[in-house]
């Protein structure tokens, strides 16, 4: 058997979990198991096992109990941290969408050097450390930072404003860090909409604004949903940026987990927090993936 071919399921195969095909030839279940084994073994050892053992401590320590989860929901402080996490993540997603959609749209409209430059601007930050990008915001926003200096020089304010360690700063920095994850799915959705749709809309009497809201926006909805979901879910578990830019007022769940593990050494409670976060993420993913695929079914992914 040759392994040079590409793995693909033929369009006639109705089930995704059915047979695997290799270079046009069907390969046996045993052979596909062998091919997939290394990946799943790695996943099992470095992800599933540690996660499950961590989660099990939330139920089993000090003995079989739900007390750790009880604490999460009983203490208003922790509940507030979770609500704040959701709120900041939501604001981050909205801000990223407002900033990102026009960029994604522009990327589909420009050509040549401008397109390359724009793509580089979107992608380059992805390959630089989150820590560096967050630190850059500290430089910008601290009391004697560029922004405060500029504001004072312009005479808009006579003493430095508190910009760092605010909710606005956290949202801004997180939106910046997560922006590529929103731009890319929207870009690919917009890119797949033929120009002729916009021409047809114009011919039918739609102004540019009208054509945008009636045609372009609905057709890119699947990309918008997946981009927003990606940003929102990433934001829920974000650690570095809120930890560096936020104050205790902006304490988010990931930072709380870190505190419990490193300062309180309370692993079972940290595990319970992670359990709650995971339950929320899993629920959202399932609900929205259904919405997204439903959208695709209606032709939204075309």
């Amino acid at each position: 058997m040759s392994f040079a071919g590409t793995l693909a399921t033929p369009p006639s195969a109705p089930s995704a979990l059915g047979r695997l095909w290799l270079g046009g030839r069907q390969i046996s279940v045993a052979a596909s198991a062998v091919l997939l084994a290394p990946f799943f073994a790695l996943l099992l050892v470095v992800f599933v096992y540690p996660l499950l053992s961590l989660l099990s401590t939330s139920f089993l320590e000090p003995h079989l109990t739900a007390a750790n989860y009880q604490r999460v929901f009983d203490n208003p402080v922790y509940l507030r941290v979770m609500l704040r996490t959701g709120w900041i993540s939501l604001l981050t997603t909205v801000l990223a969408l407002v900033l990102g959609f026009p960029i994604a749209y522009m990327m589909t409209r420009v050509k040549g050097a401008t397109a390359a430059l724009l793509t580089a601007c979107v992608l380059l930050p992805l390959w630089s450390s989150v820590l560096v990008r967050t630190a850059a915001w500290v430089v910008l926003l601290r009391r004697d930072g560029i922004v405060n200096n500029a504001l004072q020089w312009l005479g808009l304010t006579d003493k430095p404003l508190t910009l760092l360690y605010t909710e606005g700063a956290v949202v801004m920095a997180m939106a910046h860090v997560l922006l590529p994850f929103l731009i890319l799915p929207i870009y690919s959705a917009l890119k797949n909409i033929p120009d002729d749709y916009m021409r047809a809309a114009a011919m039918l009497g739609a102004s540019r604004t009208r054509a945008f809201f009636e045609v372009l926006f609905p057709l890119s909805r699947a990309g918008i949903w997946s981009g927003c979901l990606m940003v929102f879910l990433s934001a829920l578990g974000f650690f570095v940026t809120p930890a560096l830019i936020g104050s205790p007022q902006e304490l988010m769940i990931a930072t709380l987990v870190s505190q419990q593990v490193r300062e309180m050494l309370d692993w079972p409670f940290a595990a319970a927090l992670i359990g709650v976060l995971m339950a929320v993420v899993a629920t959202l993913t399932m609900v929205f993936s259904k919405a997204i695929s439903f959208n695709r079914l209606m032709g939204g992914g075309a």
């Binding site: 002729d196 021409r199 011919m203 009208r210 057709l219 032709g299």
Partner: protein
């Protein structure tokens, strides 16, 4: 936005005329449209026919407003539209690919233009259903475009373009994505709809058969210029240039020598040394005695062994291809060039490859194209 025009549905809105003057459009160094003037009569079905790159699509896109001309003017229904945005030109258009909005039902697709014109939901759905009926798709309104066949999608696109009663309908090779049988059916359907509505149609195509079947007049384009604008019959029977003759239907071209030229006609020598007198109406371009020219005769006008007179052209049969209603006979002339004869009665064709034959044709079938005179 006012709902004028949309509610006055019954009673064919007459078509609008189009006046194009000196239209010029360049892309980089290429003159896609080179000073084209054209007037489309109200209610007329006009085809723009030409090879790719001839400028036919650029002319259509300029009428639609998607391309702004470098020079010239376009008036639609008596109103100057040269720099008006597409949305305000009140035209209908059917695109090459169906371009139905995939997120809208068939009914909502058809109703889209009415919605943009501010027509209320109930009224626009009623009118859209009516338009679907005129393209014989009643009952398909609730489906999504992806659930329809290519032919059905193109009908929906047609309904969408006519539902708000535009005076002019533009069509950009709308049938090129369909298979042959469906294409022919749609040609008749579009023609029927056009005469029923009295709408003006400008139809771009590279398929000469399509242009002949549907159009009242055809403009033949090449390199951004109109070579000839005429009825299909005139274009086929009396093409004014060699290019037009070659583009409209099949033609045999022969290299000939002009023996003598006079006001009442020319005398040409064909390969095989037969001499032909060609009357003046069949001669186009400048002909000078002693010069080379091109003579053309349609395959269906050639008769095999009909006469062995001085004018009959000796040839050798190199192929006989059975084609159902006709038989195509390919024969080689003395100078090696090939002639095609389309014979209409297959049962009476007895020639076979290798036979020596004589080709002849009616006296007025031969046309001579001399040196082209710049317009």
């Amino acid at each position: 936005m006012a709902s004028t025009g949309a509610s006055t549905n019954i009673g064919g809105a007459a078509g609008g005329g189009i006046e194009i003057r000196g239209l010029t459009k360049t892309f980089g160094a290429v003159r896609a449209v080179d000073g084209v003037s054209l007037s489309v009569r109200p209610g007329e079905f006009l085809a723009l026919l030409g090879p790719s790159g001839s400028g036919k699509t650029s002319i259509l896109m300029s009428i639609a407003g998607f391309e702004l001309p470098d020079a010239g003017s376009i008036a639609i229904d008596g109103e100057d539209m040269t720099y008006v945005t597409p949305a305000k030109r009140k035209l209908g258009m059917v695109f090459q690919k169906y371009t139905l909005f995939p997120h809208l039902s068939v009914l909502d697709n058809v109703a889209f233009g009415l919605k943009m014109r501010g027509v209320g939901r109930g009224e626009r759905h009623r009118l859209a259903a009516e338009a679907l009926a005129t393209v014989r798709l009643d009952g398909y309104g609730a489906r999504m475009p992806a659930q329809l066949s290519g032919g059905q999608q193109q009908r929906v696109a047609l309904a969408r373009a006519i539902v708000y009663r535009p005076k002019v309908l533009l069509m950009d090779e709308p049938l090129s994505a369909l298979d042959k049988n469906l294409r022919e059916e749609m040609q008749l359907e579009i023609k029927r709809l056009q005469s029923q509505l009295g709408i003006t149609v400008v139809f771009v195509t590279h398929d000469q058969g399509e242009a002949l079947t549907m159009a009242d007049r055809v403009a033949i384009l090449d390199k951004g210029r109109i070579l000839q604008l005429d009825s299909p019959k005139a274009l086929y029977e009396t093409p004014k240039t060699r290019f037009v003759a070659g583009f409209m239907g099949e033609t045999n071209f022969m290299n000939v020598r002009i023996e003598s030229s006079a006001t009442n006609g020319v005398s040409v020598r064909l390969p095989g040394y037969t001499l032909h007198e060609v009357p003046a109406p069949s001669v186009v371009g400048r002909t000078i005695a002693g010069a080379q020219a091109v003579a053309a005769v349609r395959p269906e006008q050639i008769v095999l062994n009909g006469s062995s007179g001085a004018e009959a052209l000796p040839a050798t049969v190199t192929g006989v291809i059975y084609g159902g209603a006709t038989v195509l006979c390919i024969a080689q002339l003395a100078d090696g060039s090939e002639m095609r004869a389309r014979l209409s009665d297959p049962s009476r064709v007895s020639v076979k490859t290798g036979d020596r034959v004589h080709l002849s044709w009616p006296a007025d079938a031969l046309r001579v194209y001399g040196e082209e005179v710049a317009a």
